[in-house]
Amino acid sequence: MREAPIMTDLALRPSQPAAAPQPKPRYTVADRAPRRLSDFLLRWETILVILLAAVIIGNTLLSPYFLDLYNLADTTYNFSEKAIIALGMALLILVREIDLSIAAIMALAALAIGSLAAHGVAPPLLILAGLGVGLLCGAVNGLLVTRTGVPSIVITIGTMSLFRGIAQVTLGDQALTTYPDSYLALGQSYFITMPPTPLSFLIFLVLAIVFGVVLHGTAIGRQLFAIGANPVAARFAGIRVDRLRFALFTLSGLLAGLAAVLLTARIGVVRPNIALGWELDVVTMVVLGGVAISGGVGTILGVVLAVFVLGLATFGLSLMNVPGIVINVLLGLLLILSIAAPIVIRRFFGRF
């Protein structure tokens, strides 16, 4: 057609007199919000940084074993797989969805890896199999959620039993315990020797950066925020809401598959109860990371910080031989208090 896009024309023509003279508005609108120190200090990420610093300092003072490069590297093994899934879960929770089936997906993906390995399949194919099964399960979730309109918490409570159930049917009371050494090495040796860095931790860091950039820098990221804040308006704004939802569930499945690849390599055995109960741990990471369950609010930085706070606090407490269940009490309190504190502070010192 003949003209350039219409709005560009308008945009370039503010000075040209319109049919009626356009009156100047009486007020000016600033470009940015006024910066206030209290806003910065009460930002969720700031609080997490303070919390993280407190955890590190506290642990260093209380245990001589904490600040040891190898000990720290070893402890990342215990949270990196969950943290990888947490990145996908963060996006899901951001758009008001949730995936409670991730641990069950891991079981199914691990089953695929284990049974192929038992038949002598090579490591690259094992990895592909794990990722593929994860992707497939995620796609099933995505399909069910977008096609039926049933809330995802409901669908994934169902697929949680279904997926793990399938693993149980196939595996019964057996365990799959043979894996090629080069595959086990992925999870049982440092990927970089200095500084000692396990592969899973490295993958988590890289993925965190990718997720952060995509969520906070690109159009897709913005669309996710909009879906989380108001899915109907987002659809009216031309965002392909269901397609993105489907993609996020698939991604979540894929990440669960990746976690299964890493976990099987690390422990070298697959049973139907693998990764049991991880879903709540992952949700805790995301929630402590400041992603709002009501949708539309959250940052990847927050999730990463929360992963470190939880991981290092757990490690520090177990160095003091606090029983796991008591650690859970403390982490539960931490979760509540750290979310309650800024609210209380705001209420007492804020203007309303």
């Binding site: 279904l162 159930g165 019964g172 369950i293 539960g332 509540i336």
Partner: protein, 331 residues
């Protein structure tokens, strides 16, 4: 005022009826009066816990800490029984309800006063409550033998072959029904769940409603804690782990909307019965234990999806009746 059952509940009841008939054909052992009594007795906990959960979900909340509350209250009550085995039953009933209520108020207080999202609060208290069992009792288990006969008597009492736990669930159901349909705070729960802003404009205090909901949830979980321990004759850290998800699944199958404001006593009871039937029928049908989990997952999914279909929103009716195309009006 309220119709006794909605379309959705009728569908669910029909599904359940078909299931019962199907199962009884496959496994004749199932189709006996005894079995139904056993199913009802076994599902009694789920009935009451699901009703309490429904009340929370109505306010757009969720209470993930119910199972932990149950375990903690059960343990505390059992510890009291260990030291005072001769206390009358009513003391245990009241005590457990009060402890549970207290725990529920902690949830409710955090949700209501600070407006922290319920899933966050109860995810936290889920860990805290269960951990407190270890912190308080040193983690030691309390055995039936040490609880005294009185303590364990209640679940053994039966009326028409149905255990007292079932009858307590019936009482709770009636109370819930009256509360939800006939009282102001009860209707208020629906209002805040349906539209919290509008509720505020109508002078309904969101916080107060939330407090009520979590208090009820806590009290019922606490009472269930005593009954659970009395029934199974042992209290230890891990009782009823993961039970919260079963409870929520029962609500959801029963048509309670996670988005708040929608749900009924009848629907929730049917949802619980549905799950109770499955978990009881699969072993009787001699389905391989390895298959049970997969089957219940698939059946739950199916029920939920069929149910959602039944409720699918019809198109608006704007054209005059005579001009509507017959084909799609059925919905």
């Amino acid at each position: 005022m309220k119709r006794l059952a909605t379309y959705r509940e009728i569908i669910l009841a029909a599904i359940i009826a078909v299931m019962v008939i199907g199962i009884s054909i496959v496994a004749p052992a199932f189709g006996t009066r005894d079995t139904f009594v056993a199913v009802l007795n076994d599902t009694a906990f789920l009935f009451m816990m699901a009703l309490a959960q429904m009340i929370v979900i109505l306010t757009r909340g969720i209470d993930l800490s119910v199972a932990a509350n149950l375990a903690l209250t059960g343990m505390l009550t059992a510890m009291v029984a260990e030291h005072h085995p001769d206390l009358p039953i009513i003391v245990f009933v009241v005590l457990s309800t009060v402890i549970g209520l207290g725990l529920g108020l902690i949830n409710g207080g955090l949700v209501a006063a600070l407006q922290i999202p319920p899933i966050v609060v109860t995810l936290g208290t889920l860990a805290v409550f269960r951990g407190m069992i270890v912190v308080i009792g040193g983690g030691a288990q309390v055995d039936g033998a040490n609880m005294g006969a009185n303590f364990q008597l209640l679940p053994k009492l039966t009326v028409f072959g149905l255990s007292s736990i079932f009858w307590i669930a019936v009482l709770i159901a009636v109370a819930c029904w009256l509360f939800l349909t006939r009282t102001r705070p009860g209707r208020g729960l629906y209002a805040v769940g349906c539209n919290p802003v509008a509720a505020r404009y109508c002078g309904i205090d969101l916080g107060r409603q939330q407090l009520i909901a979590y208090a009820i949830s806590g009290a019922v979980a606490g009472l269930s804690g005593y009954l659970w321990v009395a029934r199974y004759g042992v209290a230890y850290v891990e009782i009823a782990t993961g039970y919260e998800l079963t409870v929520i699944a029962a609500c959801v199958i029963g048509g309670v909307s996670i988005g708040g404001g929608v749900g009924s006593v009848a629907g929730t009871l049917l949802g619980a019965l549905f799950i109770g039937l499955i978990v009881n029928a699969l072993p009787v049908m001699q389905v391989s234990p390895f298959w049970q989990m997969a089957i219940s997952g698939a059946v739950i999914l199916l029920a939920v999806i069929i149910n959602a279909r039944a409720e699918a929103r019809p198109d608006k009716l704007i054209l005059p009746r005579a001009r509507r195309e017959a084909a799609r009006v059925g919905a």
